[in-house]
Symmetry: C2
């Protein structure tokens, strides 16, 4: 909730791109080298690299290099902060709706009398 909450911004921003989401869903099946991630996208390697570094800087994936092959894998905990934010918001929003309900119901009760 801080002003400088760049973690959330980075996460949301990383997920705002369909290509990056596509890569993530591929990675959900298991780790993969860069070129395998590039394949389905139809994008060139340098472009893919940029997407991957966005994902990595957001903490959504981790990569390791062995020989000339860089393997990418998902970081499952990465979604937590985002999920928390959404849940918090939802809680507040719905609480407000509930209060609104109560308010409306009270209005209606008053009118019944």
């Amino acid at each position: 909730m801080a002003k400088h909450d760049t973690q959330l911004s980075d996460l949301f921003h990383a997920l705002a791109d369909p290509t990056r989401r596509q890569m993530l869903t591929r990675l959900a099946e298991g780790p993969a080298p860069v070129s395998e991630l590039a394949g389905p996208t139809g994008l060139r390697l340098p472009t893919v690299m940029r997407h991957l570094s966005v994902l990595e800087e957001a903490g959504l994936i981790a990569t390791t290099k062995e020989g000339r092959v860089r393997t990418c894998a998902i970081v499952p905990e990465a979604l937590v902060p985002m999920r928390s934010w959404i849940d918090e918001q939802r809680a507040v929003w719905e609480a407000r709706l509930d209060r609104l309900d109560t308010y409306v119901m009270n209005l209606m009760k008053e009118r019944e009398q």
Copy 2:
């Protein structure tokens, strides 16, 4: 999950900006006119307007104009698609982790013998 899933992209993109999240948390307390949203941000009105239209196009808020005052309010259902996506991902990611656990455990059992 479609290729052209711009809804998710729009949602994530809208939330990727701290200013917009700030506006949303303010709106969580209840509807507010444009200038009241502008206040805390320290931004000029036209800038605020742009942020608001991003939020509105993403379906996160709804606005109505009465007289010269435009009132903005949250759309609570708006978070649903995003939450679903995250939950789906989490499910798959964790399932994979579970399978990995089983795999590792099997490996260990085999070694024990």
